[in-house]
């Protein structure tokens, strides 16, 4: 899924945290993109004008977020029970050669943690809601197509497994 994202490096200072301006970095990564020696083949498959971010969801548990500033994030999700999981996030940069670059990476890594903790904080409520069985349906709009595809594929796998079990019992 391709999106324009936020081109934070173009925002006026009054719309940024002071430290984003100081470290020239933030939730879309370091502002000063490193030079790389090739086109990013496969980037922006959605041909989004003013492209910012690609989100590749690779079933079942790998997510790759490719940023226009020439870096990427990977997420992995490891279920540990029906209602708990371990989340792993890695940030992948062209290695820093200066302190300023290293600190821009650091600020991006700090930011990922701050945002991820907030995002993950909503999961408690979502999980409690699901476990309440109060909802028969869980609408996911087109912006959530990756989530929708994930759940459809999980359901296909579960259905297939249940069919095979039923076949064995016959």
């Amino acid at each position: 899924m391709s999106t324009s994202g936020s081109h934070k490096h173009t925002f006026p200072a009054e719309h940024l945290y002071p430290s984003e301006v100081q470290y020239r970095s933030g939730n879309t990564g370091p502002w000063d993109a490193p030079a790389i020696d090739r086109e990013l083949a496969g980037a922006n498959p959605g041909a989004v004008p003013r492209w910012g971010i690609d989100n590749f969801q690779i079933f079942p548990n790998l997510q790759i977020l490719l940023y226009e500033r020439n870096w990427y994030l990977s997420y992995r999700f490891w279920p540990t029970s029906h209602n708990t999981h371990v989340f792993e996030a890695d940030l992948w940069f062209v290695p820093a050669t200066t302190a300023r670059e290293r600190l821009a990476h650091e600020y991006a890594a700090v930011t990922v943690k701050e945002y991820a903790l907030q995002d993950a904080g909503t999961l408690d409520g979502t999980q409690l809601g699901l476990e309440s069985r109060a909802f028969a349906d869980f609408p996911l709009n087109d912006q959530e197509i990756l989530v929708r595809h994930f759940h459809k594929t999980v359901a296909d796998w579960v259905n297939e497994h249940e069919r095979s079990i039923a076949g064995l019992q016959r």
Binding site: Y17, P18, S19, Q22, Y23, F87, A89, P95, A96, T97, T98, A99, R100, R102, L103, H105, E106, Y107, A109, V110, T111, K113, E114, A116, L117, Q118, A120, G121, T122, L123, D124, G125
Partner: protein
């Protein structure tokens, strides 16, 4: 007492023992264990000096940094971490994290 930081940054020396920490887990633990007043004092002293400190660190090879300069770099990493408590959350922990926790288990040095 022996100075921890380069003499050019002697004004930040009162914060060095607390905030010159080599790893993010140490910095994160220090942030959660600090009061907002303590972090505000560090932020107010260090933020205006950040640009000069980054320029100073950039005079050295990142892979062969003198110990006092490496400590200055560590302090700038602490400032990055503390900035979220000061500029965004107004508390040590991000707001509404529920039962989530995240530990950094791998990072480059410096």
């Amino acid at each position: 007492m022996t100075a921890l930081l380069p003499t050019e940054f002697a004004d930040l020396e009162p914060f060095a023992a607390t905030w010159c920490l080599a790893t993010e887990p140490e910095r994160w633990a220090r942030r959660l264990a600090s009061t907002m007043d303590e972090m505000q004092a560090f932020y107010d002293a260090c933020f205006p000096r950040a640009e000069a400190a980054i320029e100073y660190c950039d005079r050295f090879d990142l892979r062969d940094t003198p110990t006092d300069v490496e400590r200055l770099l560590q302090m700038l990493s602490s400032l990055a971490l503390v900035s979220y408590a000061i500029e965004v959350w107004l508390q040590p922990l991000p707001v509404d994290t529920g039962s989530a926790r995240l530990d950094r288990i791998r990072e480059p040095h410096p």
